[in-house]
């Protein structure tokens, strides 16, 4: 992952944040992300985020669970270790439905949780750049990715114009990484 330059603005009011997000999208600056202390309804639409395909992934995981359960149980009870019990046939499908159902749910739940973590870049042990320490407390923080065509002074001025309470320019790793302290130090040196 690349280390990039970001212009960061912190807002203290949702009512200011929403028009600011709209203005940023209209201006054509590259909106990196918005960090809020709580789930803000409608912000995803305002930011132009598309619906994820998480549920399709969930369906596929569920089908994997179903086929694992049916395949494995039917292999055991019809070919590997066929026993007659309860006077039932070897291929006793109704008896397997509860297990099949549970495995479907289990696969879908675990798979979707991991996919969700991957998509949101959260996982135990993972490090991510924090743009503002109060982004999980009482401020709404917006990060804009800068490049050669968007001089920082211009963007910071623009952000101040949208009602930002604080602004800053930071060098940051855009993605996530596993916690290695050498990298962290390298990182803090960049922003020192």
């Amino acid at each position: 992952m690349a280390i990039k330059k970001f212009a960061v603005a912190a807002y203290d009011d949702e009512a200011v944040l929403f028009p600011a997000v709209k203005k940023v999208r209209k201006s054509g600056y590259k909106l990196h992300d918005v960090y809020t202390p709580f789930a803000v309804h409608g912000l995803d639409t305002a930011m132009g985020l598309k619906e994820t395909d998480l549920h399709i992934a969930g369906f596929i995981y569920g089908i994997c669970g179903t086929s694992t359960a049916v395949g494995f149980i039917s292999w055991i009870f019809t070919s590997d270790w066929p026993i007659v019990y309860g006077g039932k046939p070897h291929f006793a499908l109704p008896a397997w439905v509860p297990i099949t159902f549970e495995l479907t749910v289990l696969f879908a739940a675990v798979g979707m949780t991991l996919t969700f973590c991957y998509l949101n870049q959260i996982m135990p042990g993972v490090k991510k750049h924090v743009f503002h320490p109060r982004q999980s407390d009482d401020l709404f923080v917006m990060a804009i990715e800068l490049n050669d065509h968007t001089p920082e002074a211009e963007v910071v001025k623009f952000l101040k114009g949208t009602g930002a309470k604080e602004t800053s320019v930071q060098m940051a790793e855009e993605g996530w990484w596993y916690g290695r302290w050498d990298k962290k130090e390298e990182y803090e040196a960049l922003n020192a």
Partner: protein, 405 residues
């Protein structure tokens, strides 16, 4: 916003034509079946009437339950189309009265050539030890009392909820007195509903057709069946009214919620259906398996499997995705499929007992169904046309307008 519904001539004519078909079928049935010397013909005459009148009573009564449950949860999403369940619920008395007449006629007049009531065998128990053992509950007195009390209470609450909702329109602005009255009565109705639809009524009306057999899950299972078709019925009305340019407050978000209910309760129905089936299959006790012997392996196997495919496989595959629940065509199509599927479900609950292998889905069954459907359309559209379709002055009106699924 067009908040009055004027019955289109086409709808009225269609419903009257359907009722006429139903009445002609009934006359044909009296001529061809009721006066027949074959016992199963006479049983078929009555069981088909029983099936349709009970089915329509239960799916319309679901509308009262939905109003009560959502009012108690203080849900606002339903308010945008609240007049629809109100209008359906206010007409429960129509179907309830017909069901009462049919049920009493069967209990008091129906007998086969040997003097045995083959539809409700507990009426003529003879020396049958099992039926005699159940006679403390399964007797004419209990049957009449439960039926009358149930139909009376459902009719009362159906009318009452609508009357209170109309009274709210004339109440002072932001007055919450009626709101809390509805809230309290909703709790009371849930109790009534739990003691009728969710327990005793399916035992008496449906399960006692095969009086030897019993299942403790049966009432929940019939409730789930009625609930999902009742939801589909509301959805069909909402779609129809929207097509007429009414119900401007109803957005795709409300439709999405209705679709979710259709999807979720199809799965819930399957859960109960399968729970009942699997335990009986696993235990394999003859007195219990007799029920599924007839249905799964006997003459009803085609309905048994069609029931599972229509009511589970189709809803789960078609309604699972979010876009399909937000598509008017898919939800309308699935609502019709679900109503037909659960009509079949009730068919296979009721028919095997009295008719055995002699079941038909033929002119008589279809004609009577059309008659009831016409009656439903006729009565509900008349009730809808009587008042404004937007529940003005309802304190949740703003909340329902901005509802997001």
């Amino acid at each position: 916003m067009n908040d009055r519904f004027e019955i289109p001539a086409r709808l009225r004519n269609t419903s009257i034509a359907l009722i006429a078909v139903g009445i002609l079928t009934l006359i044909g049935g009296i001529a061809a079946l009721l006066t027949s010397h074959v016992d199963t013909d006479r049983a078929r005459f009555w069981t088909v009437l029983l099936h349709d009148s009970v089915f329509f009573t239960l799916i319309t009564a679901v509308s009262i339950f939905i109003q009560a449950a959502v009012s108690l949860a203080q849900g606002a999403w339903i308010v945008a189309f609240r007049r629809v369940p109100e209008a359906i619920g206010a007409n429960v008395w129509v179907f309830g009265s017909i069901a009462t007449v049919v049920l009493f006629a069967i209990v008091f007049t129906f007998k086969d050539a040997h003097g045995v009531n083959t539809i409700f065998p507990w009426v003529t128990p003879g020396n049958d030890a099992i039926l005699l053992g159940k006679s403390a509950f399964l007797n004419k007195g209990m049957f009449v009392a439960f039926t009358l009390i149930t139909i009376g209470l459902w009719s009362f609450f159906g009318q009452k909820f609508r009357a209170m909702s109309l009274a709210q329109e004339k109440a002072p602005k932001n007055d919450t007195k009626i709101y809390w009255k509805v809230f309290r009565l909703s709790g009371l109705f849930l109790l009534v509903y739990a003691l009728t639809q969710m327990s005793t009524i399916p035992w008496l009306w449906i399960m006692s057709i095969q009086a030897h057999w019993f299942s403790t899950l049966f009432s929940w299972y019939t409730f789930a069946s009625a609930f999902v078709s009742g939801m589909s019925l509301i959805l069909l009305w909402v779609v129809y009214l929207k097509n007429q340019g009414n119900l401007g407050l109803v957005t795709i978000e409300h439709m999405h919620d209705l679709g979710k209910f259709m999807f979720a309760f199809s799965v819930f129905w399957t859960y109960l259906w399968f729970s009942q089936y699997m335990l009986i299959w696993y235990a394999n006790i003859p007195e219990e398996t007799v029920y599924f012997k007839l249905r799964q392996q006997g003459p009803y196997s085609i309905i048994f499997y069609a029931n599972f495919i229509i009511n589970f496989i189709m809803p789960i595959l078609i309604l699972m995705a979010r876009p399909s629940k937000r598509n008017y065509f898919t939800v309308t199509f699935m609502a019709m499929v679900i109503i037909f599927g659960h009509w079949l479900d009730y068919f296979q609950m009721i028919m095997p007992g009295p008719l055995g292998a002699e079941w038909h889905i033929n002119w008589y069954e279809i004609g009577i169904f059309m008659g009831f459907a016409g009656l439903l359309v006729f009565t509900v559209s008349r009730t809808l046309a009587k008042s404004s379709l937007v529940p003005h002055n309802n304190i949740l009106l703003k909340e329902t307008a901005i509802h997001i699924a």
